[in-house]
């Protein structure tokens, strides 16, 4: 039987090498592609018939849209609505990635530091660009808040810089840890189902309960990721 960590192994599906860099199309890339495409397909199917009073199918994407719209409005303010499409895309991509990983034989790309880390670093760069665009040189105040005496600058500037850089790290670690732990737990308990024979019903029931809990965690973690991205964007726009 395969080990609990084997499910996170990256396998090359289409090996590619450009100038010595490995840019192969892997199972992780495939799942990212499926996750992005499934969002587009589901939204396109649900919004096929557009009516003033939405039906069941139309109300699903509408309520998701409204939910994230309110999230941006409450955490960033009206100014943040300009960047709504970015937050909306990010949260849907992560939510579908988390949920997709729960299917048998699928791959959870959100359990990899490289994938989520790249998204978080991209979000951080986006926030910095937004902050610089809005406040120009005043953005540098983020590293030296008002009211702090200048002799303390050599201490405060590195601390504030690390504080800014650690934000995507904490964002990534939280999501990756939650996803990895959940899947490892599922796999370990599933291992007992066969080996315990008839008594395997107990871990089977336990696993079923964990699956339900994992669906909740998948959505919750995507929500937390979104809300924190909103807060960081709000910080870049309003802080000091």
């Amino acid at each position: 039987m395969s080990g609990p960590m084997e499910q996170f192994e990256i396998k090359r599906l289409i090996p590619l090498d450009i100038n010595g860099y490995d840019v192969s199309f892997t199972n992780s890339s495939l799942c990212m592609l499926i996750s992005a495409l499934s969002v587009v397909v589901v939204f396109a199917l649900c919004l096929r018939k557009k009516t003033l009073i939405p039906g069941v199918a139309q109300s699903i994407p509408e309520s998701v849209y409204e939910f994230i719209h309110n999230l941006v409005l409450n955490n960033v303010g009206k100014e943040g609505l300009k960047y709504f499409s970015f937050i909306f895309t990010l949260s849907l991509f992560i939510a579908t990635g988390n949920l997709l990983g729960l299917f048998p034989y699928s791959f959870t790309f959100t359990s990899h530091l490289a994938a989520v880390g790249a998204l978080s670093v991209f979000a951080l760069l986006f926030n910095i660009c937004v902050g610089i665009k809005k406040k120009k040189l005043g953005y540098l105040r983020t590293f030296m808040p008002k009211g702090i005496p200048w002799p303390l600058a050599p201490l405060i500037i590195p601390i504030e810089t690390i504080s800014l850089l650690s934000k995507p790290f904490s964002l990534t670690v939280r999501l990756v840890a939650n996803m990895t732990v959940g899947h490892v737990m599922l796999k370990i308990i599933a291992g007992f189902i066969v080996s315990l024979k008839i008594a395997g019903v107990v871990p089977l029931l336990f696993d079923s309960a964990i699956i339900a809990f994992e669906i909740f965690i998948a959505v919750l973690q995507a929500y937390i990721y979104t809300i924190l991205s909103c807060i960081y964007l709000g910080d870049a726009l309003h802080y000091h």
Partner: protein, 101 residues
């Protein structure tokens, strides 16, 4: 412009009246459940640790670049610890502010 039918206008008025009614209601006090306290604690821990790790990583990279052996690693780990504490403090403060409102 398309004219909105009368029954939909009436429905809109009804929705607006209900929204007005519910927006004035105070939020339920039981918002912070035990689970959210656990999440808060976990987040504080992650904030503390991530600051230190990022600080140490920056120190290590600078040491490798300028060949300072371990001096910058030491300094930046301390800075990272401070940054982690600062992040945790800011988060705790924001939770406190929401609680007081």
């Amino acid at each position: 412009m398309q004219k909105i039918p009368e029954d939909i206008q009436a429905l809109e008025k009804k929705i607006a009246a209900i929204k007005k009614k519910t927006s004035g209601e105070p939020e339920t006090e039981n918002k912070h459940t035990q689970f959210s306290h656990l999440a808060m604690g976990l987040r504080l821990g992650v904030e503390l640790a991530s600051g230190t790790i990022v600080g140490a990583a920056i120190g290590y990279m600078l040491d490798e670049m300028f060949d300072f052996q371990f001096v910058l690693l030491l300094i930046f780990t301390i800075f990272g610890g401070c940054a982690g504490m600062l992040n945790a403090y800011r988060y705790a403060k924001s939770v406190n502010d929401i609680g007081e409102k």
